[in-house]
């Protein structure tokens, strides 16, 4: 409606991520790089999906099942990509470190080394403490935040440009609140979901914990399907609170998992934690 409203909507969707960025991620340049690369992966996945679905667009506005198919396929694709991201991420950082350490041949040749091993050996070389548990969690957090920010930008912010003008816009299906407000609220929920499910996923892949590995696609899929509820007339009244339920569940599960890990590692090392 005005510049103030536009900025307000943008901050609604991205405020917590901005504070996370400033307080945690901007301190360490490596995390910024992780965030940028995960945003890029999400963008590429979105482009591929839109390329696949382009012949079928625009979809008819009254039928709901093409949208369900759309969401299903997109979520499956993105979850597969998340696993790939984990693998690729390890490989690319491996290459990067191999290059940095390339005066030392041993690191280069052993391509099976895991990310943490490489980082740890690099840390040993430059006489710094090894990678802490919180560092690994922070890398996962940065990756998740990248996904979340990409979602918020492409699904919410890019459509906000008219909000800076003199008028506002309402959608028929959700006529109580302006469209911009609803999309900002939904984007906030999704940012939370993406950020913390990435932490859960990375820990699950690292530890081989099946529960964690499975729960992430389930959360993502349920969140995507819940937005289908918005398809019904005035469905957003039900859909959005349910979405926030899923988001808070993600948050709780992630918090519980991180807490357990920290307690474990404290018991193991027997010293004070960072």
């Amino acid at each position: 409606m005005t510049v103030a409203a536009g900025i307000g909507y943008a901050l609604l969707a991205l405020g917590p991520s901005l504070s996370l960025f400033v307080s945690v991620i901007s301190r360490k340049p490596f995390l910024i790089l992780t965030l940028l690369s995960s945003t890029l992966v999400w963008l590429v996945s979105l482009i591929i999906l839109s390329g696949l679905w382009r012949p079928f667009l625009p979809l008819k506005a009254n039928v709901w099942w093409p949208y369900a198919l759309l969401v299903l396929s997109s979520v499956c694709f993105q979850e597969a990509l998340r696993f790939l991201f984990w693998k690729l991420y390890m490989l690319s950082t491996l290459i990067h470190f191999a290059l940095l350490l390339s005066s030392d041949c041993y690191a280069v040749l052993d391509l099976k080394k895991r990310l943490e091993d490489v980082l740890d050996s690099f840390a040993d070389r430059i006489s710094r403490p090894r990678l802490f548990l919180t560092d690994k969690l922070q890398i996962a957090l940065a990756g998740g935040l990248g996904h979340g920010v990409a979602h918020a930008v492409f699904f919410c912010l890019s459509l906000l440009t008219p909000a800076f003008g003199p008028a506002t816009f309402y959608v028929n299906r959700c006529s109580k609140v302006p469209f911009f407000l609803v999309s900002a609220i939904i984007a906030l929920a999704f940012v939370t979901i993406h950020t913390f499910s990435m932490v859960i996923a990375f820990e699950g892949y690292a530890k081989g914990n099946k529960v964690d590995q499975v729960i992430v696609p389930v959360i993502h899929l349920s969140a995507g399907m819940l937005t289908l509820v918005n398809f019904a007339s005035e469905g957003c009244v039900i859909g959005v609170p349910l979405l926030y339920l899923v988001a808070s569940l993600t948050l709780l599960h992630c918090g519980k998992m991180v807490w357990q890990r920290l307690i474990e590692s404290q018991n193991q090392s027997g010293s004070t934690l960072r």
Binding site: L33, L99, A123, I126, T227
Partner: protein
């Protein structure tokens, strides 16, 4: 807790370069949005020599015309780069330095001033002309002084580099659409050729500079690292990579007379210097090297004068990006030999042309939609990262402009054609994933 982990120090140099590039792009986008710069078809510039784009022309006409424009532009830039090589070969270094100071003054004063005035007009800021003139004059003079002097705080120099990049990029976004895209792609290809091919002007410059062990007068953004390096046995190997610029030429008058009253022709040269520094970090009794890449870009810009009364200046800027990596091997050197002069040479230096052309691409994307802006921004940043990685693999001068520009163009068109119907169709139905 104060114990630092390895995560603190990784990637500092990369971020030190990506941050100012991001700031420059962001401000150009802001400027584009707020001023609603539309390409003015009346300006005849060096980029528009053959064909002036008309929105009502058919696609084939536009295609051919833009292609011709782009080719002419690249040819001009290549010619001026060769002139620069010649000048450098005959040791006209001081002349080049003074010329570049003059260019900085001109860019900041006239082009920056024009943007400044349009901002005042657009936002109805109440300021009188004398104050405005004094402020602008001070700003310009400070910028000119900061270009080559040793005594300026590095922050001032960095800010002015970014400001100059913004000003020139904002002017470039006034070009018509098809011409802009073709010019960007043509410049990326030219950069590739100029740096890697045996007869390329930039390659010649690099070799000249390194054989003479001289420093090129150049406009570069220096990113000084903030993390202090441990280990005193560092030595820095200075490898100079030069970029092409141009000398004063009055061949511009040929084009001008066809257009209107004679106007001044100025050539702005921005040459960039890449200084590699080798960072030696001491391990346990033996020194190791890290290295920081110094992408160098040189740019050359040329201004053609106005049509009639209007001071419409357009420039062409060329920025071939050249990167070079140097190694210093310092294993036997004892720790005590810390060289103080190393501190000046540390950090990555990025030429001004890169700022400008990345920002032009993003600015042009901004004229369509915010989605394309973000996609192009990510593409450019990842291209920059890729180039830095390639640099560490190949260990010699590499152009960095091609990868980013190509990725940016590809992502722009993919986003515009594929992604937008998809995303907009879903979000307006409040369906997201």
């Amino acid at each position: 807790m104060e114990s630092s982990s390895i995560l603190d120090s990784l990637g500092v140099e990369i971020i030190g370069v990506m941050a100012p590039v991001s700031i420059c792009m962001f401000l150009v986008v802001l400027l584009t949005y707020s001023l609603s710069v539309t390409s003015d078809p009346q300006i005849r510039t060096a980029a528009n020599l053959i064909y002036i784009e008309n929105p009502s022309d058919s696609a084939t006409v536009k295609l051919e015309g833009s292609l011709e424009n782009a080719i002419v532009f690249v040819v001009l830039v290549a010619a001026v780069t060769f002139v620069l090589v010649l000048l450098f070969y005959y040791n006209f270094t001081n002349f080049l330095k003074h010329y570049m100071r003059f260019s900085a003054f001109f860019v900041l004063g006239t082009m920056g001033g024009a943007i400044f005035l349009s901002i005042i007009q657009h936002f109805s800021i109440p300021v009188d002309s004398i104050t405005c003139f004094v402020l602008l004059f001070n700003f310009t003079v400070l910028g000119t002084l900061s270009v080559f002097s040793e005594g300026m705080p590095i922050v001032v120099r960095q800010c002015y580099m970014v400001v100059m990049g913004i000003v020139v990029a904002a002017w470039f976004t006034k070009l018509p659409e098809w011409t802009t895209w073709f010019i960007l792609v043509a410049l990326a290809l030219y950069d590739l050729v100029a740096v890697l091919a045996p007869g390329g002007p930039l390659k010649l410059l690099v070799e000249l500079a390194s054989t003479r062990d001289q420093e090129l007068p150049a406009m570069v953004y220096e990113a000084r690292p903030t993390v202090s390096r441990s280990g005193g046995g560092g030595s820095s190997l200075r490898v100079l990579v030069g970029g092409g610029g141009g000398g004063v030429s009055d061949s511009g008058s040929v084009e001008l007379q066809a257009v209107g009253d004679g106007a001044a022709t100025h050539n702005l040269d921005y040459n960039a210097v890449a200084v590699m520094d080798v960072d030696s970090v001491d391990g346990v009794g033996r020194s190791r090297e890290g290295h920081s890449a110094s992408p160098v870009s040189s740019e050359h810009s040329r201004e053609l004068g106005s049509v009639g009364n209007r001071e419409s200046v357009a420039e062409e800027e060329m920025s071939p990006l050249v990167e070079l990596m140097g190694w210093g091997d310092n294993r036997e050197e004892p720790r005590g030999l810390a060289e103080e002069s190393d501190n000046i040479d540390r950090g990555i230096k990025l030429g001004l042309g890169d700022f400008i052309f990345y920002s032009v691409l993003v600015g042009r994307a901004a004229m369509y939609d915010l989605m394309t802006v973000y996609a192009c921004y990510l593409a450019i940043i990842s291209g920059l990262g890729c180039t830095l990685i390639l640099l560490s693999v190949y260990n010699k001068a590499l152009p960095a402009l091609p990868i980013s520009i190509m990725l940016g163009v590809v992502f722009y068109f993919l986003t515009r054609l594929l992604m937008e119907p998809f995303v907009v169709g879903m979000t307006t139905n409040l369906m997201m994933f």
